[in-house]
């Protein structure tokens, strides 16, 4: 029976076989990596460079045949002196800070509780993790129903507990609750993610460290602050990095819940950017807006990765 490798090799046309045989290991390695590099350049690097270029022009994507004018730093100056965009940045900061605060606090607490051995532990973990498996569109839609003033469960519960009539206030309407409503939904959805990462951290701590601490008569409180927290910290920081970047560009869920309203109360920078780019079609202006957000996230991520490496070295 003929050797299958030899059969396949003989099927390669002679000129190609000669060329491949003459390649060095390095060249073959480049040959394998080249498609990935090409895709990276085409999908990530080229659009980034193109966006930077567009940010210095008055280009509008809905008028492709119009002459494009080079406007220099005008787009950047207009964005960075705009009161409205400044307010959007503050709304984004408020959303980012409180979602991270609650998600880390609740996520770590849940992980710490789940990490104990008890009956039904696995089932409980699965149930807690369910919200993060849902699509943000679904979450946005069903929380809209939950927040309904007339038929919503949230208003009904508030009426039950405080006596305030359910239809007298709207969680997503005017009254100052909208900002907190989106924070509640994001926290509900993404706390399980932080919990899972913290749980991985907690389970990676070997038991003998706690046993040694017990022998040294360290209290539970001291064990928590000198063993648990330092060893979970890299995991926690990773969770904050992921959630921070994700929440900085939060879009879908907030659009479905409030659409940026009432007024501009929940208008995050990402939603405003989308409006400028695809509703007002100010492509050059929105490119400058996108670059400002990109540099901010990139800078923060750089600091964070450095801090993470330092914590891991300890």
């Amino acid at each position: 029976m003929p050797d299958p490798v030899a059969v396949i090799a003989s099927a390669t046309p002679d000129p190609i076989a000669r060329k491949v045989r003459g390649l060095s290991d390095r060249a073959i390695a480049w040959l394998f990596v080249a498609p990935t590099i090409f895709l990276l350049l085409a999908i990530n690097i080229f659009p980034l460079i193109w966006t930077v270029r567009l940010s210095f022009t008055n280009y509008r994507a809905n008028r492709p045949n119009e002459e494009v004018e080079w406007v220099g730093l005008r787009n950047y100056i207009r964005i960075l002196t705009d009161d409205g965009i400044w307010a959007n940045m503050q709304t984004t900061a408020h959303f980012l800070f409180w979602t991270l605060f609650f998600q880390v606090l609740l996520g770590f607490t849940l992980a710490w509780l789940i990490n104990r051995k008890f009956k039904g532990n696995d089932l409980l973990t699965t149930l807690i993790v369910l919200p993060m498996m849902l699509s943000p569109a679904v979450v946005g839609n069903f929380w809209t129903f939950l927040y309904q003033p007339q038929i919503g469960l949230v208003n009904y519960m508030v009426e039950l507990l405080t006596g305030t009539p359910a239809s007298s206030f709207s969680m997503l309407g005017a009254g100052g609750y909208a900002k907190w409503s989106i924070i509640i939904v994001d926290t509900w959805m993404w706390t399980p993610f932080v919990m899972l990462i913290c749980l991985a951290g907690l389970r990676s701590i070997p038991d003998y460290i706690y046993e040694a601490a017990e022998i040294d008569r360290a209290s539970k409180w001291r064990q928590f602050w000198t063993i648990t927290i330092p060893m979970v910290l890299p995991f926690l920081m990773l969770a904050v990095l992921f959630r921070g970047i994700e929440n900085f560009k939060m879009f879908d869920m907030v659009v479905l819940l409030t659409g940026g309203g009432p007024g501009n109360e929940t208008l995050l920078a990402s939603i405003d950017l989308k409006r400028e780019a695809f509703e007002k079609w100010r492509t050059g202006y929105s490119s400058a807006y996108a670059i400002i957000l990109f540099v901010t996230v990139f800078g923060l991520a750089s600091i964070y990765v450095k801090a993470l490496n330092k914590v891991k070295e300890r």
């Binding site: 950047y76 960075l80 002196t81 400002i292 540099v295 901010t296 800078g299 750089s302 600091i303 450095k306």
Partner: protein
Amino acid sequence: MTRFLSGLLRLRRGPWELLATVLIGLGVFMLMQPFALALYTWSFLVTLAGTVMFIIVSHFPE
């Protein structure tokens, strides 16, 4: 402080990275603070300077 300044002069990574980190942090704070529009206006420049500096100085020797 003397060690920090000498690290800056001898182009060492540690102090330069610290400086870049402070600039980025300051820039992000300026971008999102609710106190003064002037700070917001200059925030991007500060963040950009910090980020570019961070990329460059991360190639400096330890």
